[in-house]
């Protein structure tokens, strides 16, 4: 289990844990990012936000936020 910033471009990931406050967690789950969801990393530069693909949309996620989302590579 690694946090999202540790994956590379085009990795497919199954989310297993989101460790953050209730409000941010529900914002993420509305977008489709919750425990058990499958996403793809679109862009992960070494700094700045990362971009993931959730369903058919691209979502940019602040680096600090991405650190709180854990998952496993499929």
């Amino acid at each position: 289990m690694k946090n999202l910033t540790e994956f590379n471009k085009s990795d497919n990931i199954k989310i297993c844990y989101v460790s953050c406050g209730q409000n941010f967690r529900r914002r993420l789950s509305e977008l489709g990012l919750f425990d058990g969801a499958e996403i793809e990393i679109i862009k992960n530069d070494r700094w700045g936000p990362i971009i993931v693909k959730i369903f058919e949309s691209k979502i940019a996620l602040g680096r600090g936020e991405a650190l709180k989302v854990y998952g496993n590579k499929i």
């Binding site: 209730q22 489709g32 530069d45 936000p49 369903f55 949309s57 691209k58 979502i59 602040g62 936020e65």
Partner: protein, 681 residues
């Protein structure tokens, strides 16, 4: 209550699904923009006639979900539950069904009189969309219409279905289940509320569900009930129980269940990516504009071009407007004098009213052109990328990536810069950006620097002016930190932003948007600016019979009285006090006022007579101190009027007057007194 002779339709949906496009196609230019009562969220309404019926369409704020965690998010559910709309149209992106359906599920839970508008982009999608619409309609038990939001024909079809829907039963009869455990807890809550109050089944369902989810609005409702404490305990117990079973928190449990349902539904649908082409184009553009190294330079080039183009293009137009009002004033003066109307009345009409109206309209070209570019950036999808690119830097000073655009625009004119904060999503980001915007040295302050730097530092004019711009930025950053620390303690909004596929904005949508901004400015801020103008005029003209703005006028008298405040700053002469006072009207006026007060009629920045006059009253040090003061002190009244309009309260513009005055005085004091200490004069 709405009268039922007029139908009420609410438009809802996720961001970036074509909701605004549909709204524009439906209502055309007949839109009204205001605020939701007591909130800073914008409310858009439009009216149309269809088959002899008057229909009012309300554009609800774009959202991903109906569960509200903040006050602002309650708007959609409030609207559905309190205003009893005849139809709720959810615009759904045919390309991204799964995520869009999450909100659909919630709308069904709420019992909204729902129609789904399946928005597809381009013809190739037609076949699959039609098949999917049929399947969705069967499963969800609501009408699903395939539309192209840009085309009148398909929106007419949508309206036909809406009219038919009104005569039938409201809401979907689909019964959603959440699994044995959740259903059991829900039933317990339902039974409890049902025993205390007689509510219809639909409302009871919704209330129980939202309580379990911790919805803000519902919590607000039940805190007022006599059985609140008991109910709260029951809900908390249910939550704890479920969270223990699922080993997840309540939101995740519900999201999982809803998405589970959607996944099941998706298996029935035809998912076919016919839009590979746009995806490829988006991919290609993104590789360039979000490139690790090229992204920022490219953005800077774009923003600087916009900056240049806006001010280059609007300058001649502003000149025309100024000339027009100038000649109109001249013409009226002559006309009214010849009819024998008193000098005082003429002055009120010409200097006060016409001058004031001109002062409002002169901003129109700049706002229109600037918003043309902003709308293009926003509607094409680039703005979301800007937020991504700039976030790493802006994050360090505690601001949202998008705030950068507002601040850059502020260098041209603070008014559109502040208006552009609308593109920021949270109130906290908006407020913080607005509060530091006035320190971006606007174009109107530049002539003051040019004149003073030319008069006192001719060899280093460029560097002196540059130093002022830098000082403005530094002050903005420092104050940003202070405000964040002490004033706006709300948690910084997490950076989550959708990057929609690129597309070419529609001309219609762009024009409507620009017109909206211009009209908002004229109608809201404009009236305030006009009122201020008349006050300033009165100060300059009373008591009766004095020369306009002279030493004997009220303004002159006040100038003499307050000049001692500026003495420690090095410019205790009454003329600068009056000039600063009129600078509140518009910074452009400062030089003109000096001209009038020194009796130099033809004022331009290379005017020798004015420079000689200034050199008598200022030393190089006090001149620099004066420029710093002009840079930092109270922004012009147009800015304050816009701040009032954007924050929806007088508190913030008044606060702005307060802190800008303190900052300006302190900075000028440090520079003048400090300069004297180290031997400058």
């Amino acid at each position: 209550m709405e009268t039922k002779s007029r139908l009420l339709i609410g438009l809802t949906g996720n961001p970036n699904v074509g909701k605004s496009t549909l709204f524009n196609t439906l209502t055309g230019a007949r839109q009204h923009v205001g605020n939701w009562p007591g909130k800073t969220v914008e409310k858009k309404e439009g009216e149309l006639n269809f088959k002899g019926k008057k229909i009012k369409v309300v554009d609800l704020p774009g959202a991903y979900s109906l569960t509200a965690y903040t006050e602002e998010e309650t708007i959609t559910s409030d609207f559905i539950l309190k205003k009893h709309p005849d139809v709720i149209i959810q615009v759904v992106d045919a390309q991204n069904l799964a995520r869009n359906l999450y909100m659909t599920v919630q709308l069904i839970e709420l019992g909204a009189p729902l129609i789904i508008a399946l928005n597809m982009v381009g013809k190739p999608q037609m076949k699959t969309s039609l098949i999917n619409a049929k399947i969705l309609s069967q499963f969800l038990n609501v009408p699903v219409i395939v539309v192209d939001a840009r085309e009148k024909d398909s929106t007419n079809n949508l309206l036909n279905v809406s009219l038919a829907k009104i005569r039938k039963v409201n809401g979907s009869t689909l019964k959603l289940t959440y699994g044995t455990e959740v259903d059991e807890e829900l039933n317990q809550i339902k039974r409890f509320i049902g025993s205390k109050e007689s509510l219809d089944k639909k409302k009871l369902n919704w209330l129980s569900l939202k309580l379990l989810e911790g919805d803000y609005r519902t919590e607000q409702i039940i805190t007022k009930k006599p059985y609140y404490f008991e109910l709260k305990q029951l809900v908390d117990k249910a939550k704890r129980h479920l969270e223990k079973i699922y080993n997840q928190d309540m939101n995740t449990i519900m999201a999982n269940i809803r998405y589970g349902f959607i996944k099941g539904l998706q298996k029935e649908l035809v998912i076919e990516n016919l839009h590979k082409k746009t995806v490829d184009i988006t991919e290609k553009i993104d590789n360039l504009v979000m490139n690790r190294f090229l992204g920022i330079p490219l953005f800077l080039v774009i923003i600087l071009s916009i900056f240049q183009a806006t001010f280059k293009l609007s300058k001649p137009m502003m000149g025309w407007i100024e000339n027009f009002f100038g000649s109109l004033g001249q013409y009226l003066t002559n006309l009214l004098t010849s009819v024998g109307i008193s000098k005082w009345t003429i002055s009120l009409i010409v200097d006060g009213i016409i001058g004031g109206v001109g002062g409002v309209l002169v901003f129109v070209p700049i706002i229109a052109i600037l918003f043309l570019f902003i709308v293009l950036l926003e509607d094409s999808g680039y703005m979301a990328r800007v937020a991504y690119i700039m976030d790493r830097f802006m994050h360090k000073i505690g601001l949202h990536g998008k705030a950068f655009i507002s601040l850059i625009l502020g260098f041209g004119c603070n008014v559109p810069g502040i208006m552009a904060t609308r593109t920021l999503e949270t109130r906290k980001d908006r407020l913080l950006t607005i509060l530091i915007s006035p320190f971006m040295s606007c174009g109107a302050r530049l002539p003051v620097y040019v004149l003073f730097a030319g008069a006192f530092f001719s060899a280093y004019q460029g560097w002196i002016i540059f130093s002022l711009y830098v000082l403005g930025i530094v002050v903005a950053i420092v104050l940003g930190f202070i405000f964040k620390k002490f004033l706006i303690k709300e948690l910084s909004s997490p950076f989550v932003i959708e990057l929609p596929p690129y597309h070419i904005p529609s001309l219609n949508g762009v024009l409507i948007h620009i017109w909206e901004r211009v009209w908002l400015f004229i109608s809201r801020a404009g009236t305030l600016i006009l009122a201020f103008s008349i006050i300033v005029w009165a100060l300059a003209s009373f008591p009766l019979g004095v020369e306009y703005g002279s030493k004997a006028s009220l303004a002159g008298l006040i100038g003499q009285k307050v000049s001692y405040v500026f003495k420690p700053l090095g410019f205790g002469n009454w003329r600068s006090s009056v000039a600063l006072m009129f600078g509140f009207f518009a910074k452009e006026v400062i030089i003109g006022t000096f001209g009038t007060l020194y009796g130099v009629t033809d004022v331009n920045t290379t005017d020798y007579a004015l420079i000689t006059a200034l050199q008598k009253d200022f030393t190089p040090l006090s001149a620099y101190s004066f420029m710093v003061f002009v840079l930092l002190y109270v922004p012009c009244m147009a800015v304050l009027a816009v701040v009032k309009r954007e924050t929806n309260s007088w508190k913030w513009p008044l606060f702005m007057i307060f802190y800008t005055s303190i900052v300006a005085w302190t900075a000028a004091f440090i520079i003048y007194q400090g300069g004297r200490l180290i031997g400058f004069s």
